[in-house]
């Protein structure tokens, strides 16, 4: 067999893997860029490379407002995640467990916010707040974030409940657990990973939201808003530090969870 054919065979077999490497390189390019530039020597803007420094990382709150905006984002993220997760989980249980009149309408009401572009959600909420003369700020941001997160929570939790074997709950009842005990000892622990996943999703949606937040935030600054607004006059390297740190933190959490799962699977 000639080496040409061999090479072609090899390429054919590994084409998909090569593609995968390229695709992930593409996905990680801007992330790498952000991380690299978080070590750039500070100036008014952070566009060209001026040299390596750890200064930004040791003092990330150096630039005015950046940590304030981050704090707001975290507060809003936690509050809206808690509310959206509780409300969405409740709706998910009703939809996954019972047949009732208005089920179709409920499903539609859950689906529509996901099928509406953010800018429309933002514009319509803003007209409501303007008409009602509501003061824009933390409350209106949280209201908006809960509104667009609920649907995602419902979908995620509902899928988890639907994947439960109904016989597990029947078995619990057969083994003398009343309805509440069954829920507490069987249903809830088994659905919990789904709820946790939904909460993580809700938090990341809230934390990263710019469009809707921009419309309903009034004077309150959030991290995405801070970055967008300062894009014109130059983003401080501190923002890159925060962006990188959030990324590393999230990856660390996810990887730790994954490692834990692998370890448990290996102990089988």
């Amino acid at each position: 067999m000639s080496t040409g054919i061999k090479a072609r065979r090899w390429l054919g077999r590994h084409a998909l893997h090569i593609y995968g490497v390229l695709a992930f390189a593409y996905i990680f390019t801007p992330i790498a860029y952000v991380m690299v530039f978080s070590f750039n020597r500070p100036a008014r803007s952070n566009l060209t490379w001026r040299g390596f420094t750890l200064e930004n990382w040791t003092n990330p709150c150096n630039a005015p407002d950046v940590c304030n905006a981050l704090g707001n984002s975290l507060k809003i993220g936690v509050a809206s995640t808690v509310i959206a997760t509780v409300l969405g989980t409740m709706v998910a249980f009703a939809l996954a467990r019972y047949r009732f009149r208005g089920r179709t309408t409920t499903n539609l009401l859950i689906f529509l916010p996901m099928a509406t572009p953010e800018v429309v959600l933002a514009a319509s909420l803003l007209t409501l707040f303007l008409n009602m003369r509501v003061q824009l700020g933390f409350t209106t941001i949280i209201i908006a974030h809960v509104m667009f997160s609920i649907s995602f929570v419902v979908v995620a939790v509902k899928a988890r409940i639907a994947s439960l074997d109904p016989r597990l709950e029947q078995a619990a009842q057969d083994l003398y657990a009343g309805e509440f005990e069954t829920f507490r000892r069987i249903t809830l622990p088994l659905v919990a990973p789904g709820i946790a996943g939904a909460a993580l999703l809700a938090f990341s949606l809230s934390f990263d939201d710019f469009i809707i937040t921009n419309f309903v935030s009034g004077d309150v600054n959030t991290f995405p808003k801070f970055v967008y607004v300062s894009a014109g006059r130059g983003i401080p390297a501190d923002a890159y530090v925060i962006g990188s740190a959030m990324f590393l933190l999230a990856m660390a959490i996810v990887l730790a969870a994954e490692l834990f799962r692998w370890r448990r699977a290996k102990n089988l």
């Binding site: 029947q170 619990a172 009842q173 057969d174 083994l175 003398y176 009343g178 005990e181 089988l268």
Partner: protein, 385 residues
Amino acid sequence: MATAEAGGDLRLSGVTKRFSAFTAVDGIDLTIAQGEFFAMLGPSGCGKTTTLRMVAGLEEPTEGSIHLGDLDVTHKKPYQRPVNTVFQNYALFPHLTIFENVAFGLRRRGVKDVKKQATDALDLVELGHLAQRKPAQLSGGQQQRIALARAVVNRPQVLLLDEPLGALDLKLRRQMQIELKRIQTEVGITFVHVTHDQEEAMTMADRVAVMNHGKIEQLGAPSDLYESPDTTFVANFLGQSNLVPGTRTGTDGGYVVIESHGQKARILQSRCVPGSDLLLGVRPEKIRIQEAGDEVPTGLNRLTGGVVVDASYLGVSTQYLVRLPWGQNLTVFSQNLGITERFRDGSAVTLAWEPDHSFGLAGDAAAGVDEEAAALAAAASAPQG
């Protein structure tokens, strides 16, 4: 938990379950004695599982009542009745250890020495060493035994088993059948076992109820059901049967005489239904196959003019398919004793059997038989070519 004093038989009276348009269980009356190993046998959709679920409290009967001794449990919740279930596919709680699975019912009932009882139950199924594992770490057979321990540990009055061996491979299933029987004898609890595997029902149960279309077709000891089926459904669902249509022509001593295509045969009166249109039934292993023209001992039923159309060697026996002059095929199992030569395709043969092994059923052969079986019979009896 309901009081344990209710002790006694499990009684179902006129129990019916309808799902919108479909009647799954149709007025069942049944009494299962305390300590009995009872099996409900039937094809899927016959209502056996629904019946079981009503006893467990997982479905509510549309009509009728269910009693445990003097206790009316018809409308009691599953957790209010002294009944436990071994679920199909076991339904072990995946997030709890084996020990906690077994201890679950004990804890809910507030039993004191949970540890000892749960450990004993695990020892009963010989899996005490796996107490700290999670269900996913166990093999199918082990999971099955844990499901059994989890139910038995509560000492229910009735233990329900919903196709408990369905997911196991053949060898393991035979092993577990013996195991189940041992445990039942050891704990003395009433077992109600639902299955579609006739061999499983027959080897384990004291009595078997054969169900079809939501009704009990026949109920009795396995040997009674096999030797004298009441209906064509039972005759065909439990093992194989040869059913030859004929008409009643009279009696001879204690026997009914039936004529079929000019040949006569006798059936014990006690084993024959009334009516003139009959089906003469005989099990394949009861039939002797002889070369045509050989002397048939007197007193035997016989059918002459048969031709062997297929002979399958099965090791312990040979299965012949014999075509009768009117085109019907009968099945004959002949033990391979090694005394006589086996017949080949095309051999002319006579079939003979003890009249006491005949049974007489009503109607035509297709009635009550699965459509599939009827189609098979039709295909088999179609003229060759």
